[in-house]
Amino acid sequence: MRHLIDITDFSVQEIEAILDLGDKMIADPAAYGDCLKGKILATLFFEPSTRTRLSFESAMLSLGGSVLGFSSADSSSAAKGESLTDTIRTVGCYADIIAMRHPKEGAPMAGSFKSTVPIINAGDGGHNHPTQTLTDLMTIRREKGRLNNMVVGLCGDLKFGRTVHSLIGAMSRYEGIEFVLISPPELKVPAYITQGLKDRGIPFTEVETMEEAMPRLDVLYMTRVQRERFFNEADYIRLKDTYILDPDKLRTAKESLSIMHPLPRVNEISVKVDDDPRAVYFKQVRNGRFVRMALIKTLLEA
């Protein structure tokens, strides 16, 4: 039995197989419309995240399966003081696979130790969110036709952004990848990540503005810069416009650039960019549904 707790639980080959299946499902969704008939997915959301929960439920329903679950900790048995392990073992009697979101880091890992059914980490605090990373990889591969040999720019809050950390980890495994890390000094990528890149000889540069990196980028992955991450309002006001993508900043970008964002966005990508053919963040959401379909089917048949 396999779980997906961290994106690196899967080898490059296993990820490839899931993305291949996702591509087939996009091409012919009807062919998979009842392949999981009679199977049940439990969505255990110990903290609310409507967007992620809907993507899992949509994925399971699209495969002919059924869903049950809860969407916040106070409606779950955890509110009565039951241990996580007991909750997981109980739910394992009702469902064939579990998608779990939890505010504490490592909760899905802890749940997987005694689980009798596959566990998918649907986000554990600021730690991991591997199905977002699968979605990102699927989007890059569909847009570029490859996952190697490209310059990937990551922009915004690179310190706390878990999607950024996971994507760096996942993309580092492919040949010829170079990262451009675009952030204010306060929100730089943690040192252990840049140390890891150095140790493995993966090229990267750290810059403070999008403009200086733009012409070289093949992918630009935008994230939110949150007000509460700054010590004072003045710094926030000073910096926030620097990290807002608008048509003007895109003037020097490649024709083939892919602009991504894990969504929801606040204002870090101007709506004026939405109609630019290089903007792929809504395609990314759709890819998220199909890659979760491919993941659920793969884990249930493993």
Binding site: T85, P103, K104, E105, G106, A107, M109, A110, D124
Partner: protein, 140 residues
């Protein structure tokens, strides 16, 4: 107990000078019924000075704990007054309930029945990470 001649027991040799009390506590040697000798600041050709611990009984020692504290220690098993086995330690790949995760956002902070598990992720820098939250623990 004659500290030079143990008939049957264990001698922990090549302990870094000054670390023997840490080891005494970490291995819970204070809870033993048998005699235990701590010998400090012994002259050593290789180390300058070292500590030695002699345990006058054939107890089971948690080699992971010992390897984590000081992988340079040699464990000598004594039977009938002679060394029958010399164990050289290494930094253990996995530590179960030896050190605790201090990250307040870690699941172990709210689920006390979970084992505290760390894995060695960087042998050269001697870095362990919590298997749940990946928090780093640098060996002191």
């Amino acid at each position: 107990m004659n500290i030079d001649s143990i008939k049957r027991g264990i001698v922990l040799d090549h302990i870094k000078a000054g670390r023997s009390m840490d080891i005494y506590k970490s291995l819970h040697l204070d809870e033993l019924e048998c005699s235990v000798a701590i010998i400090k600041n012994v002259k050593s050709n290789a180390m300058g000075r070292k500590d030695i611990i002699k345990i006058d009984d054939d107890i089971t020692i948690d080699l992971d704990v010992l390897g984590y504290i000081d992988p340079g220690i040699t464990v000598n098993i004594i039977e009938d007054g002679v060394i029958v086995e010399k164990k050289h330690l290494a930094l253990p790949q996995r530590l179960v309930n030896v050190i605790r995760c201090k990250n307040p956002r870690c699941i172990t902070s709210v689920e006390p029945e979970l084992d505290q598990i760390f894995r060695l992720t960087d042998e050269i820098r001697q870095i362990y990470r919590c298997v749940y939250c990946d928090s780093e623990k640098k060996k002191k």
